[in-house]
Symmetry: C2
Subunit: 377 residues, 2 copies
């Protein structure tokens, strides 16, 4: 992997770059759509390309469970398996494994529960999973089998999957975690980072992950530690609930400590309203399920905000989803048809919305790149 | 509409033709894929084209309920609504309305129940619907509203939808119906056929439907009656359960009576194993949900028969669905990936299978056209 910074903004920390992999280049900043199970939900790989996706991120945890990395490798790497010849990332599986623990106890990702909070504050073990020094024991949500993933296992799985960029195995702490829990967790995450580097045998680019929760000193400590290791790039992880200001502050603490010439990926964040902010904070790539997830719930992203296409009023609306959008869906289909398909429970609706939303997100970031180029951001 | 017969087989009753509509021509014999709710389930209209579909058939009953023909017309006809610029048919809604009656009582389309049979044999009214001389009262499955469709209403709805070819409103009798019931029903179907012709104001081509159940004299009577009316073409209707031999016999009884120079459409039938037979019997077009319906249950049609892609064994199979198939899915994806997507409950699997199956059916009929051309059939 090679990362070249073409321009640094004078107005912000934004930068324009080219990330080269053996499956081609991507222009940064770039949005990284999510292909959890080796597919952008509802689309084919050809459509993901047509929607402007430069790079995708797949999920180590999900692919380990189904169909298993051995079967993917037998098919000749994940690129061949899913017919995607552009760059590809896999996450480490850490977030998903820990989501089975405190994430489930506290309802993270859905509604935050305060009920399991005492446990976190007391530094206790979460339900459902068992965290050890070497990794995490958990039960397969597919068949109940007892499974273990740690840094060694994560790297082995990611090497078998064969993405261009892989991530170190880390613990993503819940937003409610206190200082003590976070500090202890961070020690583990750092030890695991070293383990990941030691265990990697492939030519894949490995990104280290900065954690540290909401605590400035821990974040800075983590950034310094990870920056000092021979990683090819950085992931910035963490669950912030709805505290967007804290997220931007946290990026600021961290970015200063990271080597300027390596790419920085923000994990799991990218609401349209945040994209400009995170890019201005110096983020090069970021992944988020938002455009695809919302599409499957009938929501379209437009220049004028979100549209809930489930609303009957759209049955009489002959406009495209977004008048200013150049995507195939907006050229060929009107709101009335898409709302009809949603009400008729037709799968095609979910596809049309997924395609449009991805195109919208990719275009949004493309416009930001143009603005950085012109010195406007 | 204009129908031109290019060649008549000397070996069978098969014929090669061109059916011209204001939305272009189709080569016959042709398979007519089903777009019940103004969409080929899981696909876009562009994909239906790419899968080789020349013409589609949409459903008057479904579109009347949702979104209603007025909204479709407000969008500028069904072609514009669904972005399909090739020829299009709508059925009359008769089959669906009657399916709510005896179809439901007897489980037609699913498992045949003998329980409601006495009613049919006694010539009684089915549950759920009320058949009158002018049409059928039924309750909307969408919102329970009391609705009425007869020949007049069906034509009005089909005119608003604006397909190129529309069908007369008929009663499709259940396979268990006795002679008495079928004879009575046929009188109604014939009266309604005349009503449909009287009520049509549009330039759309109107096809009359031949019924008569499994009774030779009634079938011949029906064919003679319908052939004597100024219809633009013929539909041959009826529910045969699993009696395929009876179906071919029935086509033979009917075809002799129909004007040679008008197109003949077989309603709702087209298993791959029947296609050659019905074409050899003189059928020009036929619609069937089979390729799309089976795709959504994980079944692929291939040169070597049906494959149940839900089977785990395919996770290790790197072959395309069908080695001899030229479709995009077979060029780009392997069986292992499609089975992975099915097991992971990914919608994309249903699309890939739908596309392939439609391509397979369309190619099958294309090959038969070639054989008629070469005098081999």
């Amino acid at each position: 992997m090679d990362f070249k910074i073409l321009k640094k903004s004078k107005r912000s920390k934004a930068r324009l770059g080219i990330l080269k992999t053996s499956h081609g280049e991507i222009e940064t900043p770039s949005f990284v759509p999510v292909a959890t199970q080796a597919v952008v939900k509802t689309l084919t790989s050809e459509e993901a390309k047509a929607a402007g996706c430069q790079i995708l991120i797949s999920n180590t945890f999900h692919l380990h469970l189904k169909p298993g990395e051995k079967l993917v490798k037998a098919g000749g790497s994940i690129h061949k398996f899913m017919n995607w010849d552009r760059p590809l990332m896999t996450d480490s599986g850490g977030f998903q494994v820990f989501s089975l623990g405190f994430g489930k106890d506290l309802g993270i990702g859905k509604i935050l529960k305060t009920k399991g909070l005492e446990k976190v504050l007391l530094g206790q073990q979460p339900q459902n999973i068992k965290i050890t020094d070497n990794g995490v024991w958990f039960r397969s949500p597919v068949n109940g089998e007892k499974l273990f993933i740690g840094p060694k296992e994560s790297i082995k799985i990611q090497e078998a999957l064969g993405a261009d960029i892989i991530f170190a195995f880390d613990e993503c702490t819940p937003p409610n975690a206190n200082y003590e829990y976070t500090k202890k967790s961070l020690e583990k995450t750092h030890r695991w980072a070293t383990e990941c580097l030691k265990n990697k045998k492939s030519q894949q680019a490995l990104f280290g992950i900065v954690q540290g929760g909401k605590f400035k000193d821990l974040r800075i400590e983590s950034a310094k530690f990870i920056a000092n290791l021979p990683f090819d790039g950085f992931g910035i992880g963490g669950e912030f609930g709805d505290s967007k200001n804290l997220m931007i502050k946290m990026i600021d603490w961290v970015i200063k400590e990271l080597s300027e010439n390596k790419p920085r990926h923000l994990l799991g964040i990218g609401h349209p309203e945040d994209i400009l902010k995170i890019i201005k904070s110096g983020i090069d790539t970021f992944d988020c399920v938002m455009p695809t997830h919302y599409a499957r719930h009938g929501v379209a992203f437009t220049e004028k905000g979100r549209l809930n296409m489930n609303k009957s009023a759209f049955l009489k609306d002959k406009n495209p989803l977004d008048k200013k959008c150049g995507c195939d869906v907006c050229q060929n289909y009107s709101r009335n048809y898409i709302t009809h398909l949603l009400k008729a429970k037709e799968i095609t609706a979910l596809r049309l919305l997924t395609f449009h939303n991805l195109y919208f997100f990719n275009s949004l970031v493309e416009k930001i790149r143009e603005k950085i180029k012109r010195g406007e951001i």
